[in-house]
């Protein structure tokens, strides 16, 4: 399943890609962004940083049994500092369709085009 974030900045595109990641699992409107968590990662290039960011979220979703619906990303070169807000998964309310195994490097791209940043990849479900 492909996920793509588009934004005015690289950080915004990363935030939007994270929203798309959650939407693969559940309807964003059903997830209350009440509890924050911190995420940090770094990678040798923008593309691997995007994959790392999404994979960090997949790890947090899996181990904390949480879903996230709000993201704030700050990029410092190839370092990412982020906060994600969400809540514990409730199957009766969130009706989660699938769990995500990992973000792949298929169709992985981070680029500025026509004045907008695009951050995309395919996730394995």
């Amino acid at each position: 399943m492909g996920v793509r974030g588009v934004g005015a900045t690289r950080a915004q595109a990363f935030e939007q890609a994270a929203l798309a990641l959650t939407a693969v699992v559940a309807d964003l409107q059903t997830i209350d962004p009440r509890q924050p968590i911190e995420v940090e990662c770094q990678a040798p290039d923008d593309e691997l940083l995007l994959a790392d960011w999404l994979n960090s979220l997949i790890f947090e979703m899996s181990t904390r049994k949480m879903l996230f619906s709000r993201f704030s990303v700050r990029l410092d070169g190839r370092r990412l500092h982020a906060r994600a807000w969400g809540e514990r998964v409730d199957p009766a309310r969130h009706h989660p369709a699938v769990e995500i195994k990992g973000a792949t490097y298929t169709a992985l791209r981070v680029a500025e085009e026509n004045g907008e940043w695009v951050a995309q990849t395919v996730v394995d479900v």
Partner: protein
């Protein structure tokens, strides 16, 4: 797929001759009709795999091949460590050792007819399935190490199942050479609460009826007959395997250049088998195989508990347990000599032919059972490994139907409730925590499994034995 790009070797074998930096040809096994429907990306990915160092004989794709991550799903490739051969995390996949186990209940349709609804409810209640579900088993650090080293054998010794089950599992239930200490800590954290869970996506537990026999002597050798009821479990190494895939994909992608490997696609991330990264991955990947084998063993135990309460006359012996996403060291003959090769099967089933020493004695004369899962509304198949499969594609066969439609498209085409009602009208009970998940897995989203299995049979990859149709499906 553009068929003009291929040389047709036979009715079911299509070759891409080596060009540019391809080390070997690429070969797809399929009928002309399946080739026509196949994604063009399979062509590109099969060619890319043929470019990897140390690949032996050919890059193969099975009849159910479709666009994967780096390797095509349905891809088979063997590498020789003495020729600079590589091991690839992408070539194994994220869900390491995802596979299928078949249990023979010893019951017939008449035995389960009255209990079908209760059985569906009890299995759904007892088998943890879907996002956020956890099992009853929570592993501490020492138990985690023991599970990763011991596989299904650890599960049996921990009280989940019978020693006799182990004979009917690849590697006798315990993958040798597993190195739990090579498994990243995050992978272990992800697995802590996930033992004995089914997962989600295309994973399922089905109760099926055997509706057709194609080879009566092989069916008899497998103990199968018309009207028999079996349980089919499809799942893998859960969060542990996914995290190992994720972590090593990055390590291999970033170290490939230092190892002098030029990757045609980052997803083909690999390392020489004889390298630190290669050896570390191998130890971790084998531990993940054990995790998958232990997981299916625990699920088997839960299934037996449910049947013991509702249908105590059921026997529930293991017919066989196959793994789809693996890299295994095997002896194969090429150019008249026997070589130890690292065989990657990504969405492909090992299919050892009759007489293979790794098969349990009871199955050795017949060949390995090859279990093919279809979609929840169509059917599944049991095949048997053939002698000629060795020379076709290192004793490999297809693994399922393969998606014909994306999840997004499927969820826009069907509603979960509608799929459940339509299948219920045909006598198939679906139980799932997610309606959208059911819609995404609708039978119409998959290719025709019969066409795939017929092609595998005609190509000599495995021989068709029996067809199974679902009565109950528990979906994650």
């Amino acid at each position: 797929m553009d068929l003009s790009l291929f040389r047709q070797r036979s009715a079911h074998e299509w070759e891409i001759r080596p060009r540019d930096d391809m080390q070997v040809p690429a070969v797809i096994f399929a009928t002309e009709a399946l080739m026509g429907e196949m994604d063009q990306k399979v062509y590109e990915q099969a060619v890319n795999v043929a470019r990897l160092p140390g690949i032996v004989k050919a890059s193969y794709a099975m009849p159910d091949a479709h666009w994967g991550y780096g390797f095509p799903i349905g891809g088979v490739a063997a590498f020789d460590p003495d020729q600079g051969g590589v091991i690839s995390a992408g070539g194994v996949g994220f869900d390491i050792s995802c596979g299928v186990r078949c249990l023979h209940t010893g019951l017939t349709r008449a035995d389960v007819a009255a209990a079908q609804k209760d059985l569906a409810e009890a299995l759904y209640y007892r088998i943890p399935a879907g996002v956020g579900s956890t099992g009853a088993i929570h592993l501490g650090p020492a138990e985690m190490e023991a599970m990763l080293a011991g596989g299904a054998r650890w599960a049996v010794e921990s009280g989940f199942g019978l020693a006799a089950d182990l004979e009917r599992i690849e590697e006798r239930g315990q993958m040798a050479g597993a190195e739990p200490e090579m498994v990243p800590q995050r992978a272990k954290e992800r697995q802590r609460d996930e033992m004995g869970t089914l997962g989600s996506g295309n994973h399922y537990l089905e109760v099926q009826e055997l509706t057709a026999v194609f080879d009566s002597s092989l069916a008899a050798a497998f103990g199968l007959g018309i009207g028999d009821i079996v349980v089919m479990i499809h799942c893998g190494s859960r969060g542990l395997g996914h995290q190992i895939g994720t972590d090593f994909l990055k390590r291999m992608a970033t170290s490939a250049k230092q190892c002098g490997i030029r990757l045609p696609d980052r997803e083909l991330a690999c390392a020489p088998i004889n390298s630190d990264v290669g050896r570390t991955y191998l130890g971790a990947m084998r531990a993940a195989i054990n995790c998958a084998l232990a997981n299916r063993q625990i699920l088997t135990h839960l299934v037996r508990q449910v049947f013991a309460e509702l249908l105590p006359q059921a026997t529930l012996s293991v017919l066989y347990d196959v793994s789809h996403n693996t890299c295994k060291v095997e002896e194969h003959r090429t150019n008249g000599e026997s070589r130890r090769l690292y065989v990657h099967r990504k969405g492909a089933t090992r299919a050892f032919g009759p007489g293979h020493p790794d098969l349990p004695e009871a199955l050795r004369a017949a060949g390995q059972p090859v279990l093919i899962g279809g979609s929840m509304g169509t059917g599944s198949y049991v095949l048997a490994g053939t002698t000629e499969s060795e020379s076709r594609a290192f004793s490999s066969a297809c693994h399922g139907a393969g998606r014909a439609m994306s999840r997004h498209q499927a969820s826009r085409t069907w509603r979960g409730r509608q799929v459940i009602d339509e299948l219920a009208a045909r006598g198939i009970l679906i139980r799932s925590p997610s309606q959208r998940g059911v819609a995404e897995e609708a039978p119409g989203a998959y290719k025709d499994v019969t066409a795939v299995v017929d092609a595998a049979d005609a190509a000599g990859l495995a021989r068709k034995v029996a067809r199974l149709e679902p009565l109950i499906c528990v979906k994650g």
